[in-house]
């Protein structure tokens, strides 16, 4: 994902820069400009009240709401508490789905029996809408933290399972054969060759899973939550406190982007070889 074929600029990849006099803007600068432009449009839209402020508060109002959230809180908890509660759920769910999904993905990727048993289960779980199975989750795991974590984990599981099994299957046959001819047992082949090769794919799966987890946060926090970003958004939406809804959305997006950035960094540290094979 880091390699890019800049079709428009291929001839400039080496040596003298033929047709471009100035150094091009870095991608980060363009992104910053984009964000600034969006904020500008938003400010204009609310300045000229193109949309009722009840439904599109100005950026200023949202920042104010964020400040109030941080200082005074909303629905009996401060922003930090809401974020903390949600982060614990997201990471709890991530741990759970890693603990279940990686072995399941390995089973699907390495054995026909594993594939036969787990493939239909995964394909069944993948499209299920969380709102539909919420009562079933409560019946089985109750209304404690477990239920929220379960709902989030169910949305994360498929991508972790699928990316693990894809990673496992893409292991080079030569790498496996080499290990076996160097004396590796089946377990050693799995631990020393198959798993390391699958790591880049698993990391990609985890990044996708994190995104999916955030999208089910509000649904998960419909269940007997008393704090959490999703709960906060939900409560605010019911009372038309739109500035808090938007502040919540912004907070989710910022955290998710931060985590994505961290994940990409970790990926670069952990598997520098992924771009070299």
């Amino acid at each position: 994902m880091t390699l890019s074929t800049e079709i428009a600029t291929l001839p400039q990849q080496a040596g003298r820069e033929r047709s471009r006099p100035a150094r091009p803007l870095p991608v980060a600068a363009i992104s910053t400009l984009t964000v600034a432009a969006i904020l500008g449009l938003w400010s204009l839209a609310s300045a000229y009240t193109l949309v009722s402020p009840v439904f599109l508060p100005s950026p200023r109002q949202v920042v104010l709401a964020l400040y109030n959230l941080a200082v005074k809180g909303f629905v009996d908890a401060t922003l930090a508490e809401h974020v903390g509660a949600s982060l614990i759920r997201i990471f709890g769910a991530l741990l759970a789905s890693i603990a279940i999904g990686i072995p399941a993905g390995i089973a699907i990727g390495t054995s026909r029996v594993g594939r036969g048993i787990l493939d239909p289960v995964v394909e069944f779980l993948r499209p299920l809408p969380p709102l539909a199975y919420l009562p079933l989750v409560i019946i089985w795991v109750g209304i404690g933290e477990a239920s929220k974590i379960t709902v989030i984990a169910l949305s994360m599981l498929p991508s972790i399972i699928l990316s693990t099994s894809a990673g496992v299957r893409s292991v080079s046959k030569d790498h496996v054969n080499a290990a076996r001819s160097l004396g590796a047992s089946k377990g050693q082949v799995l631990a020393e060759v198959v798993l390391p090769s699958a790591v880049p794919s698993i990391l990609t799966g985890i990044r996708i899973a994190l995104g999916a987890g955030w999208t089910t946060l509000v649904a998960a926090e419909l269940v007997a939550a008393s704090s959490g970003i999703g709960f906060m958004i939900q409560s605010a939406a019911q009372f038309l406190v739109t500035d808090i809804v938007i502040a919540g959305i912004v907070v989710i997006a910022l955290i998710a982007i931060l985590l994505e950035y961290l994940a990409r960094q970790i990926e670069r540290r952990l598997v520098p070889w992924a771009s070299h094979r």
Partner: protein, 268 residues
């Protein structure tokens, strides 16, 4: 002294889409072969003759359709540390640096970290890469990677070394240096070696015995003893060896043997 034996080995790949209809395609037939641990058997033959298949059988990656392959009389049950393979495209592990790649077979055996590090460094020194231990393998050139692969195979202390076109993509100079290197390694390690090559020169220079595989299905169409490797090892110049009349005669003979095979794809 160990012996690797092929006894009446034949191989058919199961019928797949794209193959000729009417049954499995025979790839190898009636292979009888013995390789002792003081030999270096060079295998030559046309593209598609079945050279890689033969090596895969010896390695235990695939099982023969009929016949047995045995080491010292014990039929092989799959790949094992007694038969180490060096792949054409090196098959090093990119998540390990050069040293850890070499130490890999030692790790499998449970050798403690310090000991395997020491042993790996010694092997790297042997293949002329004393400095390269900490480098990630994607920073190494093709020739360096090939040597790491050989060091890794040697670390397993195999009784047999199976080399599949290990010098395929090298330029003339690098290739001739690597040829000398393989000769020396072979002599030191005392492992019986199978070397697959496209180059008749290389087969003659390195092999104690040369096997010609003729295609469709692959059969051993000739087996020739050669002594040039001993000359080179005892100090003769490669150029001089190649210039000898015997070398030229054998080269011409082998070329004829390969070309004699029935024609298939190349109709140009």
């Amino acid at each position: 002294m160990s012996i690797l034996t092929f006894r009446n080995v034949s191989l058919r790949y199961p019928q797949r889409a794209g193959n000729r209809p009417g049954g499995d395609v025979p790839v190898l037939e009636g292979i009888d072969l013995q390789i002792a641990s003081d030999e270096l058997v060079a295998v030559i033959g046309r593209s598609g003759a079945g050279k890689t298949s033969l090596l895969n059988l010896a390695a235990g990656f695939i099982a023969p359709t009929t016949g047995t392959i045995a080491v010292d009389g014990v039929p092989i049950q799959g790949p094992g540390a007694d038969r180490a393979v060096v792949f054409q495209d090196d098959a090093l592990y990119p998540w390990l640096n050069a040293r850890d790649n070499v130490a890999f077979p030692l790790k499998l055996k449970g050798v403690p970290v310090a000991a395997r590090r020491e042993r790996a460094d010694k092997l790297l020194e042997k293949v002329g890469l004393a400095e390269a231990g900490d480098r990630p393998i994607w920073e190494l050139s093709g020739g360096m990677r090939q040597r790491v692969g050989i060091a890794r195979a040697l670390a397993a202390e195999p009784r047999f070394l199976l080399l599949d076109e290990p010098l395929g993509a090298l330029d003339a100079l690098t290739r001739s240096r690597m040829q000398e290197f393989i000769l020396r390694i072979k002599a030191e390690s005392g492992a019986g070696t199978i070397l697959i090559t496209h180059s008749i020169d290389e087969a003659l220079l390195l092999g104690t015995r040369i096997i010609v595989l003729s295609p469709n299905p692959g059969r051993l169409s000739a087996e020739i003893e050669a002594g040039f490797s001993a000359e080179v090892l005892s100090g003769a110049s490669v150029a001089a060896v190649k210039a000898s009349p015997l070398f030229k005669r054998m080269h011409a003979g082998l070329t004829g043997l390969i070309h004699a095979a029935p024609d298939d794809e190349v109709a140009a």
